[in-house]
Amino acid sequence: MIGGRLVPAVVGLPDDALMWLLDRWSDLLLAVADGSGLVMLEYGFMHRAFLVGILIAVMAPLIGTFLVHRQLALIGDALAHTAFAGVAVGLFVNATLGTGISPYLTAVVVAMIAALAIELISEVTDAYNDVSMAIVLSTGFALGAVLISLDSGGLAVGVNQYLFGNLSTVTNENTVLLVGLFSVITLVVGATYKQLLYVTFDETAARVAGIDVRWYNRIVAMLTAMVVVGAMQIMGVILVAAMLVVPVAGAAQVARSFREALLASVVLAELAVLVGITLSFYYETTAGGTIVLVAVGIYVGAVLLGKLGSDPDAVAGAGSTSEGRSADR
Protein backbone atom coordinates (compact mmCIF):
# COMPACT_ATOMS: atom_id res chain seq x y z
CA MET A 1 0.00 0.00 0.00
CA ILE A 2 1.37 3.36 -1.00
CA GLY A 3 -0.16 5.07 1.98
CA GLY A 4 1.56 2.68 4.34
CA ARG A 5 5.00 3.15 2.86
CA LEU A 6 5.02 6.81 2.15
CA VAL A 7 4.16 8.10 5.58
CA PRO A 8 6.75 6.22 7.65
CA ALA A 9 9.34 7.31 5.10
CA VAL A 10 8.39 10.90 5.82
CA VAL A 11 8.45 10.38 9.57
CA GLY A 12 11.69 8.43 9.38
CA LEU A 13 10.40 5.15 10.75
CA PRO A 14 10.48 2.02 8.64
CA ASP A 15 7.19 0.35 7.90
CA ASP A 16 8.24 -2.84 9.67
CA ALA A 17 9.07 -1.05 12.90
CA LEU A 18 5.60 0.51 13.02
CA MET A 19 3.99 -2.83 12.30
CA TRP A 20 6.09 -4.35 15.08
CA LEU A 21 4.86 -1.62 17.42
CA LEU A 22 1.27 -2.32 16.39
CA ASP A 23 1.80 -5.99 17.30
CA ARG A 24 3.14 -5.04 20.72
CA TRP A 25 0.13 -2.75 21.25
CA SER A 26 -2.11 -5.72 20.41
CA ASP A 27 -0.20 -7.93 22.85
CA LEU A 28 -0.69 -5.32 25.55
CA LEU A 29 -4.44 -5.08 25.00
CA LEU A 30 -4.74 -8.89 24.84
CA ALA A 31 -3.04 -9.07 28.20
CA VAL A 32 -5.50 -6.49 29.52
CA ALA A 33 -8.32 -8.58 28.04
CA ASP A 34 -7.04 -11.68 29.83
CA GLY A 35 -6.68 -9.88 33.11
CA SER A 36 -9.96 -7.98 33.04
CA GLY A 37 -12.21 -10.27 31.05
CA LEU A 38 -13.14 -7.45 28.64
CA VAL A 39 -14.40 -9.28 25.56
CA MET A 40 -13.96 -6.34 23.20
CA LEU A 41 -10.20 -6.27 23.74
CA GLU A 42 -9.86 -9.78 22.30
CA TYR A 43 -10.45 -8.53 18.75
CA GLY A 44 -7.63 -7.20 16.55
CA PHE A 45 -9.86 -4.58 14.93
CA MET A 46 -10.72 -3.20 18.37
CA HIS A 47 -7.00 -2.86 19.16
CA ARG A 48 -6.59 -0.72 16.06
CA ALA A 49 -9.80 1.21 16.76
CA PHE A 50 -8.63 2.13 20.27
CA LEU A 51 -5.15 3.12 19.10
CA VAL A 52 -6.54 5.27 16.29
CA GLY A 53 -9.15 6.74 18.64
CA ILE A 54 -6.57 7.65 21.28
CA LEU A 55 -4.37 9.36 18.69
CA ILE A 56 -7.32 11.27 17.20
CA ALA A 57 -8.38 12.42 20.64
CA VAL A 58 -4.96 14.04 21.05
CA MET A 59 -4.56 15.69 17.68
CA ALA A 60 -8.12 16.83 16.98
CA PRO A 61 -8.49 19.04 20.08
CA LEU A 62 -4.84 20.11 19.75
CA ILE A 63 -5.62 21.72 16.38
CA GLY A 64 -9.25 22.44 17.29
CA THR A 65 -8.16 24.72 20.13
CA PHE A 66 -6.37 26.99 17.67
CA LEU A 67 -9.39 26.95 15.35
CA VAL A 68 -12.23 27.47 17.81
CA HIS A 69 -10.62 30.47 19.47
CA ARG A 70 -10.21 32.16 16.11
CA GLN A 71 -13.85 31.51 15.31
CA LEU A 72 -12.90 29.04 12.61
CA ALA A 73 -14.89 26.15 14.05
CA LEU A 74 -16.49 25.39 10.70
CA ILE A 75 -13.25 24.82 8.84
CA GLY A 76 -13.28 21.19 9.97
CA ASP A 77 -16.66 20.70 8.34
CA ALA A 78 -15.48 22.26 5.10
CA LEU A 79 -12.35 20.14 5.00
CA ALA A 80 -14.24 16.98 5.90
CA HIS A 81 -16.42 17.44 2.84
CA THR A 82 -13.40 17.98 0.61
CA ALA A 83 -11.77 14.94 2.17
CA PHE A 84 -14.85 13.09 0.97
CA ALA A 85 -14.06 14.40 -2.51
CA GLY A 86 -10.53 13.14 -2.00
CA VAL A 87 -11.81 9.68 -1.15
CA ALA A 88 -13.96 9.77 -4.27
CA VAL A 89 -10.92 10.78 -6.33
CA GLY A 90 -8.96 7.84 -4.93
CA LEU A 91 -11.74 5.35 -5.55
CA PHE A 92 -12.32 6.77 -9.02
CA VAL A 93 -8.65 6.56 -9.98
CA ASN A 94 -8.45 3.02 -8.63
CA ALA A 95 -11.59 1.99 -10.51
CA THR A 96 -10.57 3.49 -13.84
CA LEU A 97 -6.81 2.87 -13.82
CA GLY A 98 -6.84 -0.28 -11.75
CA THR A 99 -4.33 1.13 -9.25
CA GLY A 100 -4.33 0.40 -5.53
CA ILE A 101 -3.91 3.87 -4.05
CA SER A 102 -5.29 4.24 -0.53
CA PRO A 103 -8.31 6.59 -0.69
CA TYR A 104 -7.08 8.06 2.61
CA LEU A 105 -3.91 9.22 0.90
CA THR A 106 -5.81 11.01 -1.87
CA ALA A 107 -8.10 12.41 0.84
CA VAL A 108 -5.07 13.89 2.67
CA VAL A 109 -3.79 15.47 -0.52
CA VAL A 110 -7.16 16.86 -1.66
CA ALA A 111 -8.04 18.14 1.82
CA MET A 112 -4.68 19.90 2.13
CA ILE A 113 -5.15 21.56 -1.25
CA ALA A 114 -8.62 22.62 -0.11
CA ALA A 115 -7.18 23.98 3.13
CA LEU A 116 -4.82 26.20 1.16
CA ALA A 117 -7.70 27.19 -1.12
CA ILE A 118 -9.73 28.41 1.87
CA GLU A 119 -6.87 30.64 3.01
CA LEU A 120 -6.15 31.87 -0.51
CA ILE A 121 -9.78 32.62 -1.33
CA SER A 122 -10.15 34.78 1.75
CA GLU A 123 -6.78 36.47 1.13
CA VAL A 124 -7.38 37.17 -2.56
CA THR A 125 -11.07 38.05 -2.62
CA ASP A 126 -11.03 39.85 0.72
CA ALA A 127 -14.09 37.83 1.72
CA TYR A 128 -15.02 36.66 5.19
CA ASN A 129 -13.38 33.40 6.11
CA ASP A 130 -16.72 31.62 6.42
CA VAL A 131 -17.61 32.53 2.84
CA SER A 132 -14.52 30.83 1.48
CA MET A 133 -15.22 27.85 3.77
CA ALA A 134 -18.74 27.54 2.42
CA ILE A 135 -17.42 27.66 -1.16
CA VAL A 136 -14.82 24.99 -0.54
CA LEU A 137 -17.32 22.83 1.37
CA SER A 138 -19.83 22.87 -1.47
CA THR A 139 -17.17 22.29 -4.10
CA GLY A 140 -15.81 19.33 -2.19
CA PHE A 141 -19.14 17.65 -1.71
CA ALA A 142 -20.21 18.35 -5.30
CA LEU A 143 -16.97 16.95 -6.68
CA GLY A 144 -17.32 13.84 -4.55
CA ALA A 145 -20.91 13.31 -5.61
CA VAL A 146 -20.10 13.76 -9.32
CA LEU A 147 -17.12 11.40 -9.24
CA ILE A 148 -19.16 8.74 -7.49
CA SER A 149 -22.04 9.04 -9.94
CA LEU A 150 -19.59 8.71 -12.85
CA ASP A 151 -18.88 5.15 -11.87
CA SER A 152 -21.71 4.26 -9.55
CA GLY A 153 -21.16 0.52 -10.02
CA GLY A 154 -18.70 -0.47 -7.34
CA LEU A 155 -18.10 3.00 -5.96
CA ALA A 156 -21.29 3.87 -4.11
CA VAL A 157 -21.01 0.73 -2.03
CA GLY A 158 -17.53 1.57 -0.81
CA VAL A 159 -18.33 5.15 0.10
CA ASN A 160 -20.51 4.44 3.12
CA GLN A 161 -17.61 3.59 5.38
CA TYR A 162 -16.00 6.96 4.67
CA LEU A 163 -19.24 8.85 5.20
CA PHE A 164 -20.14 7.24 8.49
CA GLY A 165 -16.92 5.68 9.69
CA ASN A 166 -16.57 2.12 10.81
CA LEU A 167 -14.54 0.55 13.58
CA SER A 168 -13.90 -2.66 11.64
CA THR A 169 -12.55 -0.88 8.55
CA VAL A 170 -9.48 0.41 10.37
CA THR A 171 -6.71 -1.60 8.74
CA ASN A 172 -3.07 -1.87 9.78
CA GLU A 173 -2.11 0.35 6.85
CA ASN A 174 -4.62 2.99 7.87
CA THR A 175 -3.30 2.87 11.40
CA VAL A 176 0.26 3.38 10.19
CA LEU A 177 -0.91 6.34 8.09
CA LEU A 178 -2.57 7.81 11.15
CA VAL A 179 0.56 7.36 13.29
CA GLY A 180 2.41 9.30 10.61
CA LEU A 181 -0.15 12.12 10.60
CA PHE A 182 -0.12 12.17 14.39
CA SER A 183 3.68 12.55 14.48
CA VAL A 184 3.68 15.38 11.95
CA ILE A 185 0.90 17.27 13.73
CA THR A 186 2.30 17.01 17.24
CA LEU A 187 5.80 17.91 16.06
CA VAL A 188 4.62 20.96 14.11
CA VAL A 189 2.38 22.21 16.92
CA GLY A 190 5.15 21.61 19.44
CA ALA A 191 7.63 23.61 17.37
CA THR A 192 5.30 26.51 16.57
CA TYR A 193 3.17 26.64 19.73
CA LYS A 194 4.19 30.19 20.65
CA GLN A 195 3.58 31.58 17.19
CA LEU A 196 0.24 29.80 16.86
CA LEU A 197 -0.86 31.08 20.26
CA TYR A 198 0.10 34.66 19.41
CA VAL A 199 -1.69 34.55 16.04
CA THR A 200 -4.75 32.97 17.62
CA PHE A 201 -4.95 35.59 20.33
CA ASP A 202 -4.28 38.74 18.34
CA GLU A 203 -3.39 38.70 14.66
CA THR A 204 -2.38 42.35 14.43
CA ALA A 205 -0.16 42.25 17.50
CA ALA A 206 1.37 39.04 16.15
CA ARG A 207 2.20 40.83 12.91
CA VAL A 208 3.75 43.71 14.83
CA ALA A 209 5.78 41.11 16.72
CA GLY A 210 7.17 39.96 13.37
CA ILE A 211 5.20 36.74 12.96
CA ASP A 212 4.25 35.88 9.38
CA VAL A 213 0.56 35.44 10.10
CA ARG A 214 -0.37 34.22 6.63
CA TRP A 215 2.02 31.30 6.85
CA TYR A 216 0.77 30.24 10.26
CA ASN A 217 -2.81 30.41 9.01
CA ARG A 218 -1.86 28.12 6.17
CA ILE A 219 -0.04 25.75 8.49
CA VAL A 220 -3.08 25.49 10.75
CA ALA A 221 -5.36 24.88 7.77
CA MET A 222 -3.13 22.10 6.48
CA LEU A 223 -2.79 20.47 9.89
CA THR A 224 -6.58 20.60 10.11
CA ALA A 225 -6.80 18.74 6.82
CA MET A 226 -4.53 16.03 8.22
CA VAL A 227 -6.61 15.66 11.38
CA VAL A 228 -9.82 15.48 9.39
CA VAL A 229 -8.55 12.64 7.22
CA GLY A 230 -7.09 10.87 10.21
CA ALA A 231 -10.34 11.06 12.13
CA MET A 232 -12.44 10.15 9.10
CA GLN A 233 -11.66 6.45 9.55
CA ILE A 234 -13.72 5.99 12.66
CA MET A 235 -15.77 9.17 12.82
CA GLY A 236 -16.84 9.38 9.20
CA VAL A 237 -16.78 12.54 7.14
CA ILE A 238 -19.98 13.96 8.55
CA LEU A 239 -19.02 13.82 12.22
CA VAL A 240 -15.33 14.54 11.92
CA ALA A 241 -15.63 18.25 12.62
CA ALA A 242 -17.24 17.51 15.98
CA MET A 243 -13.94 16.15 17.33
CA LEU A 244 -12.23 19.45 16.48
CA VAL A 245 -14.85 21.57 18.19
CA VAL A 246 -16.85 19.85 20.93
CA PRO A 247 -14.02 18.89 23.35
CA VAL A 248 -12.44 22.32 22.86
CA ALA A 249 -15.71 24.08 23.64
CA GLY A 250 -16.10 21.97 26.77
CA ALA A 251 -12.53 22.67 27.90
CA ALA A 252 -13.00 26.43 27.47
CA GLN A 253 -15.79 26.26 30.04
CA VAL A 254 -13.62 24.83 32.80
CA ALA A 255 -10.08 26.04 32.02
CA ARG A 256 -8.63 29.38 33.01
CA SER A 257 -5.38 29.45 31.04
CA PHE A 258 -4.72 28.47 27.45
CA ARG A 259 -2.45 25.61 28.49
CA GLU A 260 -5.12 24.26 30.80
CA ALA A 261 -7.67 24.54 28.01
CA LEU A 262 -5.42 22.62 25.64
CA LEU A 263 -4.81 19.87 28.18
CA ALA A 264 -8.45 19.70 29.26
CA SER A 265 -9.66 19.44 25.66
CA VAL A 266 -7.41 16.42 25.10
CA VAL A 267 -8.62 14.80 28.32
CA LEU A 268 -12.28 15.36 27.39
CA ALA A 269 -11.69 14.03 23.89
CA GLU A 270 -9.95 10.89 25.21
CA LEU A 271 -12.86 10.31 27.53
CA ALA A 272 -15.35 10.70 24.69
CA VAL A 273 -13.41 8.38 22.38
CA LEU A 274 -12.79 5.60 24.92
CA VAL A 275 -16.34 5.61 26.26
CA GLY A 276 -17.80 6.05 22.77
CA ILE A 277 -15.88 3.16 21.21
CA THR A 278 -16.76 0.89 24.13
CA LEU A 279 -20.47 1.75 23.94
CA SER A 280 -20.54 1.35 20.17
CA PHE A 281 -19.03 -2.14 20.53
CA TYR A 282 -21.48 -3.39 23.13
CA TYR A 283 -24.59 -1.76 21.69
CA GLU A 284 -23.50 -2.26 18.06
CA THR A 285 -24.04 1.41 17.26
CA THR A 286 -22.04 3.50 14.78
CA ALA A 287 -18.75 4.56 16.38
CA GLY A 288 -18.65 8.14 15.06
CA GLY A 289 -22.14 9.00 16.20
CA THR A 290 -21.65 7.39 19.59
CA ILE A 291 -18.38 9.21 20.22
CA VAL A 292 -19.92 12.55 19.25
CA LEU A 293 -22.95 12.01 21.50
CA VAL A 294 -20.68 11.14 24.42
CA ALA A 295 -18.55 14.21 23.64
CA VAL A 296 -21.63 16.43 23.62
CA GLY A 297 -22.73 14.91 26.92
CA ILE A 298 -19.31 15.73 28.39
CA TYR A 299 -19.59 19.24 26.95
CA VAL A 300 -22.92 19.81 28.70
CA GLY A 301 -21.33 18.57 31.92
CA ALA A 302 -18.42 20.99 31.44
CA VAL A 303 -20.81 23.90 30.89
CA LEU A 304 -22.60 23.11 34.14
CA LEU A 305 -19.30 22.69 35.96
CA GLY A 306 -18.02 25.97 34.50
CA LYS A 307 -21.12 27.84 35.64
CA LEU A 308 -20.63 26.50 39.17
CA GLY A 309 -16.89 27.17 39.20
CA SER A 310 -16.62 30.59 37.57
CA ASP A 311 -18.62 32.62 40.07
CA PRO A 312 -16.14 32.50 42.99
CA ASP A 313 -13.45 33.79 40.63
CA ALA A 314 -15.52 36.84 39.72
CA VAL A 315 -16.39 37.56 43.34
CA ALA A 316 -12.82 37.21 44.58
CA GLY A 317 -11.55 39.70 42.00
CA ALA A 318 -14.15 42.40 42.39
CA GLY A 319 -13.42 45.11 44.92
CA SER A 320 -9.86 44.01 45.54
CA THR A 321 -8.59 47.29 44.13
CA SER A 322 -9.89 50.73 43.42
CA GLU A 323 -9.67 49.96 39.73
CA GLY A 324 -11.55 46.74 40.30
CA ARG A 325 -14.43 48.64 41.88
CA SER A 326 -14.65 51.12 39.07
CA ALA A 327 -14.33 48.34 36.52
CA ASP A 328 -15.86 49.63 33.35
CA ARG A 329 -18.18 46.82 32.49
Binding site: H69, K194, F201, A209, A252, A255, R256, G317, G324
Partner: protein, 247 residues
Protein backbone atom coordinates in the same frame (compact mmCIF):
# COMPACT_ATOMS: atom_id res chain seq x y z
CA UNK B 1 18.89 58.06 14.91
CA UNK B 2 15.14 58.59 14.95
CA UNK B 3 13.10 55.67 16.21
CA UNK B 4 10.37 56.55 13.72
CA UNK B 5 10.98 58.45 10.52
CA UNK B 6 8.25 59.14 7.99
CA UNK B 7 9.17 61.13 4.90
CA UNK B 8 6.51 62.34 2.49
CA UNK B 9 4.33 59.34 3.22
CA UNK B 10 1.08 58.96 1.29
CA UNK B 11 -1.18 55.96 1.56
CA UNK B 12 -4.70 55.01 0.53
CA UNK B 13 -6.71 51.82 0.74
CA UNK B 14 -8.32 52.94 -2.51
CA UNK B 15 -7.32 55.65 -4.98
CA UNK B 16 -8.22 58.34 -2.41
CA UNK B 17 -5.31 58.84 -0.04
CA UNK B 18 -6.04 58.40 3.67
CA UNK B 19 -2.78 60.10 4.59
CA UNK B 20 -1.05 62.52 2.28
CA UNK B 21 2.55 63.67 2.30
CA UNK B 22 3.15 63.13 6.00
CA UNK B 23 6.62 63.70 7.36
CA UNK B 24 7.24 62.94 10.99
CA UNK B 25 10.19 61.88 13.08
CA UNK B 26 10.09 60.56 16.63
CA UNK B 27 13.28 60.72 18.63
CA UNK B 28 14.26 58.47 21.50
CA UNK B 29 12.61 59.49 24.77
CA UNK B 30 9.87 61.61 23.20
CA UNK B 31 6.18 61.44 24.11
CA UNK B 32 4.25 62.23 20.94
CA UNK B 33 0.47 62.44 20.85
CA UNK B 34 -1.35 62.33 17.51
CA UNK B 35 -4.79 63.92 17.47
CA UNK B 36 -7.29 64.42 14.69
CA UNK B 37 -10.93 63.94 13.81
CA UNK B 38 -12.49 60.55 13.07
CA UNK B 39 -11.29 59.17 9.76
CA UNK B 40 -8.32 61.50 9.68
CA UNK B 41 -5.89 58.66 9.08
CA UNK B 42 -4.43 58.49 12.59
CA UNK B 43 -4.68 54.73 12.95
CA UNK B 44 -3.59 54.20 9.37
CA UNK B 45 -0.53 56.29 10.05
CA UNK B 46 0.31 54.06 13.02
CA UNK B 47 -0.08 50.97 10.86
CA UNK B 48 2.38 52.49 8.40
CA UNK B 49 4.79 53.25 11.24
CA UNK B 50 4.52 49.63 12.39
CA UNK B 51 5.12 48.33 8.88
CA UNK B 52 1.67 46.78 8.56
CA UNK B 53 1.02 48.92 5.47
CA UNK B 54 3.58 49.91 2.84
CA UNK B 55 3.31 53.61 1.94
CA UNK B 56 2.21 54.29 -1.66
CA UNK B 57 4.87 56.95 -1.84
CA UNK B 58 7.46 58.29 0.54
CA UNK B 59 9.40 56.21 3.04
CA UNK B 60 8.64 54.84 6.49
CA UNK B 61 11.56 53.83 8.66
CA UNK B 62 11.54 52.17 12.06
CA UNK B 63 14.76 52.07 14.07
CA UNK B 64 16.58 53.10 10.90
CA UNK B 65 15.39 50.24 8.73
CA UNK B 66 12.40 50.15 6.36
CA UNK B 67 9.29 49.66 8.54
CA UNK B 68 8.00 46.75 6.46
CA UNK B 69 11.24 44.80 6.71
CA UNK B 70 12.04 45.75 10.30
CA UNK B 71 13.42 42.67 12.04
CA UNK B 72 14.00 43.59 15.68
CA UNK B 73 10.30 43.34 16.41
CA UNK B 74 10.71 43.05 20.17
CA UNK B 75 11.77 46.70 20.29
CA UNK B 76 8.23 47.86 19.48
CA UNK B 77 5.31 47.40 21.84
CA UNK B 78 1.83 47.82 20.40
CA UNK B 79 -1.36 48.52 22.33
CA UNK B 80 -4.55 48.76 20.30
CA UNK B 81 -8.06 49.80 21.23
CA UNK B 82 -9.49 47.42 23.79
CA UNK B 83 -11.40 45.11 21.52
CA UNK B 84 -10.37 41.91 23.26
CA UNK B 85 -13.20 42.14 25.74
CA UNK B 86 -15.80 41.57 23.07
CA UNK B 87 -13.82 39.89 20.35
CA UNK B 88 -12.37 36.89 22.14
CA UNK B 89 -13.73 34.45 24.63
CA UNK B 90 -10.45 32.64 24.58
CA UNK B 91 -9.36 31.06 27.84
CA UNK B 92 -6.01 32.72 28.46
CA UNK B 93 -4.52 34.26 31.58
CA UNK B 94 -2.96 37.68 32.00
CA UNK B 95 0.38 36.00 32.67
CA UNK B 96 0.17 34.08 29.38
CA UNK B 97 -0.61 37.26 27.43
CA UNK B 98 2.26 39.18 29.00
CA UNK B 99 4.63 36.30 28.31
CA UNK B 100 3.90 36.79 24.59
CA UNK B 101 6.15 39.83 24.83
CA UNK B 102 9.01 37.36 25.19
CA UNK B 103 8.08 35.33 22.10
CA UNK B 104 10.02 37.46 19.58
CA UNK B 105 13.10 36.99 21.81
CA UNK B 106 12.64 33.24 22.01
CA UNK B 107 11.85 32.62 18.34
CA UNK B 108 11.47 28.87 17.99
CA UNK B 109 13.36 28.29 21.24
CA UNK B 110 11.87 27.62 24.63
CA UNK B 111 10.52 30.16 27.09
CA UNK B 112 12.81 29.98 30.11
CA UNK B 113 12.68 31.07 33.76
CA UNK B 114 14.34 34.35 32.83
CA UNK B 115 11.51 35.12 30.40
CA UNK B 116 8.92 34.38 33.07
CA UNK B 117 10.72 36.63 35.51
CA UNK B 118 10.74 39.51 33.03
CA UNK B 119 7.01 39.01 32.47
CA UNK B 120 6.40 39.04 36.23
CA UNK B 121 8.45 42.22 36.64
CA UNK B 122 6.47 43.88 33.86
CA UNK B 123 3.20 42.99 35.57
CA UNK B 124 4.50 44.55 38.78
CA UNK B 125 5.52 47.71 36.95
CA UNK B 126 2.01 48.27 35.62
CA UNK B 127 0.53 47.29 38.97
CA UNK B 128 -1.56 44.26 38.10
CA UNK B 129 0.70 41.43 39.24
CA UNK B 130 -2.04 40.18 41.56
CA UNK B 131 -4.23 39.57 38.49
CA UNK B 132 -1.64 37.36 36.75
CA UNK B 133 -3.68 34.17 36.95
CA UNK B 134 -7.01 35.70 36.02
CA UNK B 135 -8.51 35.22 32.60
CA UNK B 136 -7.79 38.33 30.51
CA UNK B 137 -11.47 38.54 29.57
CA UNK B 138 -12.38 38.91 33.26
CA UNK B 139 -10.40 42.14 33.61
CA UNK B 140 -11.80 45.64 33.28
CA UNK B 141 -10.88 47.61 30.17
CA UNK B 142 -8.29 49.65 32.05
CA UNK B 143 -6.68 46.59 33.60
CA UNK B 144 -6.58 44.88 30.22
CA UNK B 145 -4.76 47.82 28.63
CA UNK B 146 -2.23 47.65 31.47
CA UNK B 147 -1.70 44.01 30.64
CA UNK B 148 -0.89 44.94 27.03
CA UNK B 149 1.56 47.58 28.22
CA UNK B 150 3.11 44.90 30.43
CA UNK B 151 3.45 42.70 27.35
CA UNK B 152 5.43 45.46 25.65
CA UNK B 153 7.56 45.96 28.78
CA UNK B 154 8.22 42.24 29.06
CA UNK B 155 9.53 42.39 25.50
CA UNK B 156 11.86 45.20 26.61
CA UNK B 157 10.42 47.49 23.97
CA UNK B 158 12.05 50.87 23.39
CA UNK B 159 9.03 52.30 21.61
CA UNK B 160 5.45 52.06 22.76
CA UNK B 161 2.84 52.58 20.05
CA UNK B 162 -0.72 53.04 21.29
CA UNK B 163 -3.82 53.33 19.13
CA UNK B 164 -6.65 54.99 21.10
CA UNK B 165 -5.90 52.85 24.15
CA UNK B 166 -8.53 54.43 26.38
CA UNK B 167 -11.62 53.81 24.24
CA UNK B 168 -14.15 52.06 26.44
CA UNK B 169 -12.14 52.63 29.63
CA UNK B 170 -13.86 54.45 32.49
CA UNK B 171 -12.70 57.97 33.39
CA UNK B 172 -10.99 57.10 36.67
CA UNK B 173 -8.96 54.31 35.05
CA UNK B 174 -8.07 56.60 32.13
CA UNK B 175 -6.34 59.01 34.52
CA UNK B 176 -4.41 56.17 36.11
CA UNK B 177 -3.53 54.84 32.66
CA UNK B 178 -2.06 58.17 31.54
CA UNK B 179 -0.24 58.37 34.85
CA UNK B 180 1.38 55.03 34.03
CA UNK B 181 2.43 56.26 30.56
CA UNK B 182 3.93 59.41 32.09
CA UNK B 183 5.96 57.31 34.49
CA UNK B 184 7.24 55.01 31.75
CA UNK B 185 8.15 58.01 29.59
CA UNK B 186 10.09 59.57 32.48
CA UNK B 187 12.10 56.38 32.69
CA UNK B 188 13.06 56.67 29.04
CA UNK B 189 10.30 54.92 27.14
CA UNK B 190 9.48 56.55 23.80
CA UNK B 191 5.71 56.88 23.44
CA UNK B 192 3.74 57.36 20.23
CA UNK B 193 0.07 57.72 21.06
CA UNK B 194 -3.00 58.17 18.89
CA UNK B 195 -5.79 59.59 21.01
CA UNK B 196 -9.21 61.09 20.41
CA UNK B 197 -9.16 62.90 23.76
CA UNK B 198 -7.27 66.10 22.92
CA UNK B 199 -7.27 67.26 26.53
CA UNK B 200 -5.42 64.14 27.66
CA UNK B 201 -2.80 64.60 24.95
CA UNK B 202 -2.29 68.26 25.87
CA UNK B 203 -1.90 67.30 29.54
CA UNK B 204 0.49 64.43 29.08
CA UNK B 205 2.34 64.44 25.76
CA UNK B 206 5.50 66.46 25.21
CA UNK B 207 4.63 67.04 21.57
CA UNK B 208 1.36 67.20 19.67
CA UNK B 209 0.81 66.20 16.06
CA UNK B 210 -2.53 67.25 14.63
CA UNK B 211 -3.53 65.19 11.64
CA UNK B 212 -6.32 65.25 9.14
CA UNK B 213 -4.88 63.36 6.19
CA UNK B 214 -1.95 65.73 6.35
CA UNK B 215 -0.11 67.25 9.26
CA UNK B 216 -1.76 70.49 10.47
CA UNK B 217 0.40 71.02 13.48
CA UNK B 218 3.54 69.54 14.99
CA UNK B 219 4.93 71.10 18.12
CA UNK B 220 4.64 71.54 21.90
CA UNK B 221 1.16 71.37 23.52
CA UNK B 222 1.24 75.01 24.65
CA UNK B 223 1.73 76.27 21.12
CA UNK B 224 -0.96 73.92 19.85
CA UNK B 225 -3.52 75.38 22.24
CA UNK B 226 -2.73 78.89 20.96
CA UNK B 227 -2.74 77.96 17.27
CA UNK B 228 -5.76 77.63 15.01
CA UNK B 229 -4.68 74.12 13.90
CA UNK B 230 -7.51 72.50 15.79
CA UNK B 231 -10.17 74.54 14.02
CA UNK B 232 -8.55 74.00 10.67
CA UNK B 233 -8.16 70.24 11.12
CA UNK B 234 -11.53 69.59 12.72
CA UNK B 235 -13.65 72.40 11.36
CA UNK B 236 -15.22 72.87 7.99
CA UNK B 237 -13.64 76.28 7.66
CA UNK B 238 -11.95 77.04 4.40
CA UNK B 239 -8.21 77.40 4.63
CA UNK B 240 -5.69 79.11 2.39
CA UNK B 241 -2.99 76.79 1.11
CA UNK B 242 -0.58 78.90 -0.88
CA UNK B 243 -2.86 80.56 -3.33
CA UNK B 244 -5.10 77.55 -3.72
CA UNK B 245 -8.24 77.50 -1.62
CA UNK B 246 -8.95 74.09 -0.19
CA UNK B 247 -12.31 73.23 1.28
Amino acid sequence: MSLVELEGVSFGYTATPVVRDVSLAVESGEYVGIVGPNGSGKSTLLRIVLGLHEPDSGSARLFDSPAGAFAERERVGYVAQDVTGNATKMPITVAEVVLMGRFPHAGFGRIGPEDREKARDALETVGIDRLADRRITKLSGGQRQRAYIARALAGEADLLVLDEPTVGVDAESVDAFFGLLDGLNREGMTVLLVEHDIGAVLDHAGRVVCLNREVYFDGPPTEFADSDALDRAYGTTVRRDGDVTVA
